[in-house]
Structure formats: structure tokens, C-alpha cells
């Protein structure tokens, strides 16, 4: 019988999961990635946190039914994407629009950089580039943005992305190509 550790080690890549695996351990391991994806997609830390909790709760409820056809991360991200879609849909049709827009501006989001050893000039340049990428991301469709984030933030393979979003690999590549073209145009236009 596979141990929890071996299952978790293989979960990122392979379709292996056992019902006896401790879900708390799964949640602990994958929570940062799910949160990061939602934060990048929504640019709202509070909503990202709430949806992350909902995603893990939903996953926990369905954990017994998880057959391991895909990796746990793919499965969790698929749940997160659906929750995100529901979130946008409910925001669009919300009768009582009480929730204020908490999402931070692209300029504010661009302020985050890892404290590396690069010079202040390099930091400024990097910040400007990040701001321009955020500006390009803002103009993407919901699907293009999701594919872009999975590829360039989560560094997922095309095949994995296709499986996660339920599109063909060709469609994923087309979305990515358009997204990168927009980033390129943004970088070229503001130079």
C-alpha cells in the first residue's frame, strides 16, 4: 500500500491518489498554488483566500470520489477555475451589488518583486515590465487569462493546461499565442 508521502510526491505529476491519503496534507501542500492562481486571476487577496477555502472544501467533500484520472493539482485547479467562473458570473448578475471592488490596480500589483540582489535600476526596470504585463493581462479574455496564468505563473505544460481547462492543446496554444502577442505589443508600445 502506498504511503501518504509517496502518494503526495507523485501527485504533482502522476495520476495517483488513494482514498486513505490524508486530505489535510494535500490541502497544506497545494493551498499556496491554488491561492496564487486565484490571486493572479482576480487580483483580490480576500476573494482569492475565500475561493481557495471554498475550493479545498469542495475538494474535501469529493475527495472520496477522486479517481486519480489527473494529478491532484490539475483537479484542484479545475475546481478553482469553476469557482472563479461562478464568482464572475454572480458578480455580473448580482442583484445587490454590495461587494466593493477589492482588486488592486495593475500598478499596485507590479510593486511586488522578490528582494533579490539586483541593483535599484534593475528593480525599476523589472517593476515597469511587470506593470506592462499586468496591463496586457487586463485586456485578455477570461479564458486567455486563465491559460496565460497557468502557463506563465504556474509553469504548467500545455497538455496539463488543456486537461485543466478542458480545451484541446491546439486551442490552448492559440490562446497563449494571442496572450503573448498582447504582452509583446504592450512592451513594444511603451518602450
Amino acid at each position: 500500500m502506498a504511503t501518504v508521502t509517496t502518494i503526495l510526491e507523485s501527485m504533482g505529476k502522476q495520476a495517483v491518489a488513494a482514498p486513505e491519503a490524508d486530505f489535510a496534507e494535500v490541502a497544506r501542500q497545494y493551498r499556496p498554488q491554488v491561492f496564487r492562481f486565484l490571486l493572479a486571476s482576480l487580483r483580490d487577496a480576500d476573494t482569492a483566500e475565500t475561493l481557495t477555502q471554498e475550493c479545498l472544501l469542495k475538494a474535501h467533500r469529493n475527495w472520496a470520489g477522486f479517481r486519480g484520472d489527473s494529478s491532484v493539482l490539475t483537479w484542484l485547479l479545475r475546481i478553482a477555475i469553476n469557482l472563479q467562473k461562478d464568482h464572475w458570473r454572480s458578480r455580473r448578475l448580482q442583484f445587490w451589488k454590495t461587494t466593493s471592488a477589492n482588486s488592486v490596480d495593475a500598478d499596485d500589483a507590479a510593486q511586488w518583486l522578490p528582494s533579490g540582489e539586483s541593483s535599484p535600476e534593475a528593480q525599476v526596470l523589472a517593476r515597469d515590465q511587470v506593470r506592462l504585463v499586468w496591463a496586457a493581462v487586463k485586456g485578455l479574455s477570461e479564458r486567455q487569462r486563465t491559460v496565460f496564468m497557468l502557463r506563465h505563473v504556474e509553469e504548467m505544460e500545455i497538455q496539463e493546461i488543456a486537461h485543466t481547462v478542458g480545451l484541446s492543446e491546439g486551442t490552448v496554444k492559440a490562446h497563449l499565442s494571442r496572450a503573448v502577442a498582447r504582452v509583446r505589443a504592450e512592451l513594444g508600445g511603451k518602450r
Binding site: A40, A45, Q53, W112, A126, Q129, V133, E157, R184
Partner: protein, 153 residues
């Protein structure tokens, strides 16, 4: 990240061009840094909403509830007003019926009184007739019998 994935990424980045590659790398690093900071930041997390609340908060249900509320806001006062009107009409009808019954009873009483009075008149007349009959002098008896005989003819 494993070697295969790294090679694929590198290959793709070469296709993207140096500047775009660098920008995407910085973007990734920025999002990771932001996410790590937000994850470690303590914040009040809203409890996941119950399925009932989620159902209630669904747009279709919200709009339906709003429509029902509007319908109730208009419908209830109208229904109450109509009910009030019906009650007033029913009360008026009942009063009218009572008045008619009273009038009928009164008429019946009057009729009975009249009948009683009529009976008394008959008795009085009979009594008078008897008195008259008794006061007829004996000497007039033949004339009286004659009158009655001629009357019969």
C-alpha cells in the same frame, strides 16, 4: 521544476524573445512574491457560505425573490383592501336582511292586531243584534215577522 519542463520553458522563451522572456520571468517572480506575502499575512477569512446561502445568493433566485417581494408589496395591500370591501358589503347585506326581517315581523304583528280588532267588531255587532232583538216590543212581533217574510220574497 523537472529537466524536461525546464527545457520546454527555455525553448519557448527563446521563441518569445529576450525582452518578453525577461518580462514574463519578472511577472512570475512578482506574482509569487505577492502571493507568498499575502499567504503569510493574517486576515479575517470569511467562512465558506453554506449551500443554502449560496442558493439564495444565486442571481436567478435573487431576481425571483425581488419579483416576489414586489408582487407581495403590491398584492397584499390590494388583497387586504378587497377583503375589507367584501366585509363591508357583507355587513351591509346582513343589515339590510335584518331590516327586512324586522319590517316583516312588524307587518305580521300589525296584521294580527287588525285581525283581533276585526273579531272584536264582529262580537260587538252580534251583541248589538241580540240587544236589538230583545228590545223589540211584543206588539211589533207580527210586523217583524211580516218584514222578514217580505224580505225573503
Amino acid at each position: 521544476m523537472n529537466d524536461h519542463k525546464w527545457k520546454e520553458t527555455e525553448m519557448n522563451n527563446q521563441e518569445l524573445g529576450d525582452e518578453v522572456e525577461q518580462a514574463l520571468k519578472n511577472f512570475r517572480a512578482s506574482v509569487h512574491a505577492w502571493s507568498e506575502t499575502e499567504l503569510t499575512r493574517s486576515r479575517a477569512v470569511k467562512a465558506p457560505r453554506s449551500s443554502v446561502w449560496r442558493w439564495l445568493a444565486a442571481p436567478a433566485v435573487s431576481w425571483g425573490a425581488a419579483a416576489a417581494l414586489a408582487l407581495t408589496a403590491v398584492g397584499v395591500p390590494v388583497a387586504v383592501h378587497r377583503e375589507h370591501q367584501v366585509q363591508i358589503l357583507a355587513r351591509q347585506h346582513a343589515d339590510e336582511q335584518q331590516r327586512l326581517r324586522d319590517a316583516q315581523e312588524k307587518a305580521a304583528t300589525q296584521m294580527a292586531a287588525l285581525q283581533t280588532a276585526a273579531m272584536d267588531d264582529d262580537k260587538l255587532l252580534q251583541h248589538v243584534d241580540e240587544d236589538i232583538r230583545q228590545s223589540t216590543p211584543d206588539a211589533m212581533e207580527p210586523l217583524a215577522s211580516l218584514m222578514s217574510t217580505s224580505g225573503e220574497e
